[in-house]
Symmetry: C2
């Protein structure tokens, strides 16, 4: 569920666009005004504001924001104003250009979006960058990661309710065999993770647990320093319990020496209208501190106020 606080009476898109224009002009930028508008509008409302802004002022709202804002606050607002498919395309692009084996954005997008959402991101990427996602990922990623990431990002999975339990058992056995051999990037592991439906995978992981007495993720922990193993664990988590995965991502990003603003921004802007409410609950359960308070402690200024708005609290 969404955390956004959308006022019961929302101004028209043109009124919002005019206010934003005002926030850009004059002496200095009025960041508070920007937050008070964009931080409290749904995806559809933001789309209309962007359209109205362009109609009224002959300029893309994004260009205006880019000129006026800076650093983490700028990045967060720009991501937020994009529609979800475009936002995913931009996140993929940024991750690919500075690809590293510890980067999780690509996995996250590939495994937590619906089949249609993932395809919409691929389409937006093609329009924006005149190349395909898989084309860029195949060039920039390496080795086992490439073998995993390309089919993950190009998957178009079945999302209906049908699950084949016999198949789940046999594939659980297959996964177990390969993991025992430490053949983590074996083509069968990759095939199963990159093509089966999420419900089918859940059944497979359950069968694994039943048959071998512990969750598959425990067996993927044999070498905690192995980035590929850690990526496989992230994949299984994103499939089976994405909110828990996101909770952990935020927790680790905040607890780091030097907050990982990029990850925090990514999770909050991409999940605010999806399941951030659940992520907040899980965060509180796991850390005994409300997420909003933790974010306030670790961030400052307009960036802090903006995140707090998306988290569904008044930025007092």
């Amino acid at each position: 569920m969404s955390t956004l606080l959308i006022p019961s009476h929302v101004p028209s898109a043109s009124e919002d666009a005019e206010q934003l224009r005002k926030a850009f002009t004059g002496w200095g930028t009025n960041e508070k005004l920007i937050i008070s508008i964009l931080g409290y509008r749904s995806s559809e409302q933001r789309r209309k504001i962007r359209q109205a802004y362009s109609d009224l002022f002959g300029e893309d709202l994004l260009k205006g924001l880019e000129k006026e804002l800076t650093r983490d606050f700028e990045k967060a607002v720009l991501l937020w104003v994009l529609d979800p498919a475009e936002r995913d395309a931009v996140l993929v692009y940024d991750s690919v250009r500075k690809w590293s084996s510890t980067n999780r954005a690509l996995l996250e997008i590939a495994c937590t979006r619906s089949s249609e959402e993932l395809f919409a991101a691929r389409r937006a990427y093609l329009v924006r960058y005149k190349r395909s996602i898989e084309e860029d990922v195949a060039v920039h990623s390496k080795g086992d990661f490439k073998k995993l990431l390309v089919p993950l990002l190009t998957a178009y999975r079945y999302e209906g309710p049908e699950v084949n339990r016999t198949l789940a058992k046999s594939e659980a056995k297959l996964l177990h065999e390969k993991i025992e051999e430490k053949a983590y990037a074996d083509e069968e592991i990759i095939r199963i993770l990159t093509t089966r439906s999420k419900l089918q995978l859940e059944a497979t992981f359950n069968a694994y647990n039943n048959e071998f007495g512990h969750p598959i993720n425990k067996d993927l922990k044999s070498d905690p320093k192995d980035d590929f193993l850690s990526a496989l664990r992230s994949v299984t988590k994103c499939f089976t319990f994405p909110q828990k995965y996101f909770e952990k991502t935020i927790r680790l990003s905040i607890n780091k020496i030097g907050t990982d603003e990029e990850a925090v921004t990514r999770v909050i802007t991409t999940r605010a209208e999806v399941d951030l409410k659940t992520i907040k609950e899980l965060f509180y359960k796991r850390n005994s501190v409300p997420l909003t308070r933790a974010i306030k402690k670790d961030t400052t200024g307009d960036y802090e106020d903006f995140l707090v708005a998306l988290l569904g609290e008044e930025s007092a």
Copy 2:
């Protein structure tokens, strides 16, 4: 260009549906009537007829046709009545279930459809079979073929005009190196063929020809009995000159001992409204016999009449 002969005055979809119903009932089936309707209607008109038939008689037209028709004629009419994305889905499904290293339908669909058409086929497959194309292909195909087919079928290529000539040169060199090493299923060859835009690949193949003095396909002929090499040649042909590829497919299907009706039906039903006119011209140029005459010589009965209708000649 389409070869279909659509009459200047076409009856309404309901009139056509009623006539088809008549053709099914009574003593025996009126195949001539079926051909005279379905063989002379565009994809959009057939879609409307199917809808009208279902509205009028509470049954899918396909079910009716399945009951009344037999063998090659049945297969051709059923494929023809499906809309293009569904038809591709069915062709993929049939090929995957009896997959063999000489089957070309998968390659053909992956390489001659536009990015959106290929994705539409994936979507239709998911709806129809409750599994993804890549899921089934990854299970049923093997080894090097699997490494090639899965990314070919899941590609969503850039289709705009931008070509990078420097990249074309460097990738031509890379392809040449791997081919010299006989590393035909090398991941770089697969990456280039499965992710680059068709125009980019054309530039790469041209660079190959310029740099090394002969077309890439000549170098892919070192072992004419190697099915994987032959598949790679088909891929390059489908990308650079699909009509020539289709001409050859029909030519070889007809010249075989025992015509390959499946391939003939596939090419004619999938290309009739796309580029069958050009394929006919190329066929005549290459064989000094009109395609229609060649088809008439090799086929019989209603199947013959139906193909001849799609080829744009009156089935006298």
